[in-house]
């Protein structure tokens, strides 16, 4: 039945009306216009890479969330909710909110006070050059790959919805992002992300509202899913997690709590520079702390526009969607296409244009986040150290001076004054390098987009990437921030061994699928669950190796850890401040709401 119906459906879901084209065209003009306008304010390194550190908590917070609210969020998680049910909500709630609150309340002071320009920059200050280089290379590799996934996802949507050629979609979207980020730098990326955030909500929430009316509210939705898929539990968050076989994902609660809630989530939301960069652009410490807390509040609400459409798809679509491989073989619609299908079901001319604009906005915000972060890490953490090493070899800079320059150099990348007589490179050189690296990053991402087409599931692929690099990175950063005994050697070897562990497990499963039973503790585990356990084991290995190597090597003097480590840093006094102005107060409120939400959907 599924195949027959699907093959009877048209190759193009919808035809746009002139009003839809006007809405989509206006969006492209608005984003480009913003980039051209903001170019005049992005002439220095601090402006281009850190948006001048002038963003308010709301702008930084919404940008923080929008940079993550990419095509993967909109399409990928709607697809996952169709495939796995409401369990996908865990990636928004326990898999995001606690980590975001932790970033705002505990970690942000160290990032902000150290005046670092990037997460690898913090690792350089805390652990030294090798750890920074390892982290920067892994991060740069990951960002361009993820960016490629974004591009592919967008091209897929445009192909299904509008019948556009995939290559045309990839190139036109990539160069739009390259222009507006290349011109206005992080400021343009952030302002566009706030704009995109508003449009995503404006365009996507209509589907959920109309869908709920269609099925008769939440109780009607649950009843129709149960009728359509008897014997399967798609509507409970926790009650099916007591065993690997009692839920559609094939995951145990330990994987969700420890693999997702502790390792993957904290790794991504507290150490992935793609999102942390937005908060570093805040105008002061309190804004930097409030930004992730504001974002956490909105993150809690995102399932309403992402997960709910997938569940509604289970209830109302007259045919069943299938996996990507089966879809390619049979011509049926795949899970990844549930959101466009729901859009076509409910949205007429005008609303349809807004919905497609919301999807394109999501794709672009994700892409812009990746390329702007890539440009910063490449320029500050890879290109600049190369220049300094070359200068040391030529005798233009003494090694100690190079280290001092690193410590001193935040936004003031030529400001090695007093250490060397002449600047190594002008500020404009680094801005030019940032613009060039944005272009190169976009081109590499385009190549990645073609590569990604060979993979069966977009989300599983990206989750695998996160577990490679992000999970062990959290262990390295948090030990460095909270334990003064951690040494440079401990940080480096812990991060390297954690990353190798994750890659090794992934390869083992690829070579021998039977290895999944050992990695994920069950032969019933599916790819998504396996990624959680990979993250968990790699995080544990990273922490263990870091602790053991640190205890075997000489610690740094405490005086050198000021501003970097808890217990060695005098945090600024908040002064007289009302309760409602304190970051921890709002963090407590968001956490309470999260707790209640989990109880309701238990």
């Amino acid at each position: 039945m599924t195949m027959t119906l699907a093959m009877a459906l048209p190759a193009r879901l919808i035809n746009l009306n002139p009003v839809d084209w006007v809405i989509i065209g206006t969006y492209f003009l608005a984003t480009l216009g913003l980039g051209f306008y903001l170019k005049r304010f992005s002439e220095t390194g601090e402006d281009f890479f850190l948006a001048g550190r002038q963003m308010t908590a709301w702008v930084a917070g919404l940008s923080f969330l929008a940079a993550n609210l990419s095509s993967l969020e909109l399409m990928g998680w709607a697809a996952s909710s169709y495939e796995y049910g409401i369990l996908a909500t865990h990636w928004y709630w326990i898999g995001a909110v606690p980590a975001m609150l932790f970033l705002g309340v505990v970690m942000m002071p160290f990032y902000y006070i150290s005046k670092t320009h990037s997460v690898p920059g913090y690792l350089q200050l805390r652990y030294g050059e090798p750890t920074r280089m390892l982290s920067a290379i892994c991060f740069a590799f990951m960002t361009v790959l993820v960016s490629g996934v974004n591009m592919y996802a967008m091209a897929l949507v445009l192909k299904i919805m509008l019948g556009w050629n995939i290559s045309f979609s990839i190139w036109i979207s990539a160069f739009t992002v390259a222009i507006y980020v290349g011109l206005g730098g992080l400021r343009s990326a952030i302002f566009n992300e706030v704009l995109q955030f508003m449009l995503i909500w404006a365009g996507a929430i209509v589907i959920s509202i109309l869908g709920l009316i269609d099925v008769g509210g939440w109780s009607g939705l649950v009843a129709r899913i149960h009728a359509e898929f008897p014997g399967q539990d798609y509507t409970h968050l926790w009650s099916g997690l007591g065993s690997f076989t009692a839920n559609p994902m094939g995951v145990h609660w330990t994987g969700i709590v420890f693999g997702l809630g502790l390792i993957t989530s904290f790794g991504y939301w507290t150490t992935d520079f793609l999102v942390v960069q937005r908060v570093l652009a805040a105008k002061d410490l309190r804004s930097a702390q409030m930004a992730p807390i504001i974002a956490a509040g909105f993150k809690f609400c995102v399932p309403f526009i992402v997960i709910l459409p997938g569940l509604l798809g289970l209830a109302v679509l007259p045919y069943h969607l299938v996996g990507q491989t089966q879809a390619a073989a049979t011509g049926a619609f795949s899970y990844n296409e549930v959101l466009p299908l729901m859009l076509a079901r409910y949205c007429g001319p005008g609303l349809l244009g807004l919905g497609i604009t919301a999807l394109i906005a999501g794709f672009m915000s994700g892409m812009a986040g990746n390329v702007s972060a890539f440009a910063t890490v490449w320029t500050y953490d890879l290109h600049r150290p190369m220049i300094e090493r070359r200068a040391v070899r030529r005798g233009l800079l003494r090694p100690a001076a190079a280290a001092a320059a690193e410590v001193a150099g935040t936004g003031d990348i030529v400001g090695i004054s007093g250490v060397v007589p002449e600047p190594l490179r002008s500020d404009k050189h680094y801005v030019r390098m940032g613009r060039a690296s944005i272009l190169v990053g976009v081109l590499i991402s385009i190549g990645t987009a073609y590569f990604v087409m060979q993979f069966a599931s977009i989300m599983d692929y990206v989750q695998a990437l996160f577990s490679f690099f992000i999970a062990p990175l959290f262990g390295t950063v948090i030990l460095g921030m909270l334990w003064k005994r951690t040494t440079g050697a401990g940080g480096f070897w812990g991060l390297l061994s954690g990353t190798c562990t994750s890659v090794g497990m992934w390869l083992a499963i690829k070579v021998n699928p039977g290895a999944l039973a050992y990695v994920a503790l069950s032969s019933h585990a599916k790819a998504m669950a396996a990624n959680l356990y990979q993250a968990l084991w790699s995080g544990i290995v990273c922490v263990l190796v870091t602790v053991v190597v640190s205890l075997a090597t000489a610690p740094r003097p405490e005086a050198e850890l000021n501003g970097l480590v808890y217990g060695c840093t005098l945090l600024p006094d908040d002064g007289e401040m009302a309760l409602y102005q304190r970051p921890w107060f709002w963090a407590a409120i968001v956490f309470t709401v999260l707790f209640i939400g989990n109880l309701i959907l238990w």
Binding site: L34, F41, Q54, M198, I213, R345, Y346, P349, G350
Partner: protein, 72 residues
């Protein structure tokens, strides 16, 4: 409310302008569809374009008013 102090540029005003334009377009399109329904669309009797377009239009105008540029 300027988010970038040096540029005195408010992203909220910019968003308000876009929401106003989108709201007007969607409202107009929704009104037109009352007499010209699109084929194969679910819940057309609710006229979602009318109320959602109206909501965006009003929201956009509020943003424009609250975050309009002010000269000190």
């Amino acid at each position: 409310m300027a988010e970038a102090h040096r540029s005195h540029f408010s992203i909220w005003f910019y968003i308000g302008a876009l929401l106003t334009l989108y709201g007007a377009l969607i409202l107009g399109s929704g009104l037109w569809q009352i007499d010209h329904p699109a084929p194969g669309l679910a819940l057309q009797n609710l006229h979602a374009g009318v109320w959602w377009g109206g909501f965006l239009l009003v929201s956009g105008l509020i943003y424009l008013a609250v975050f309009r540029p002010r000269h000190n």
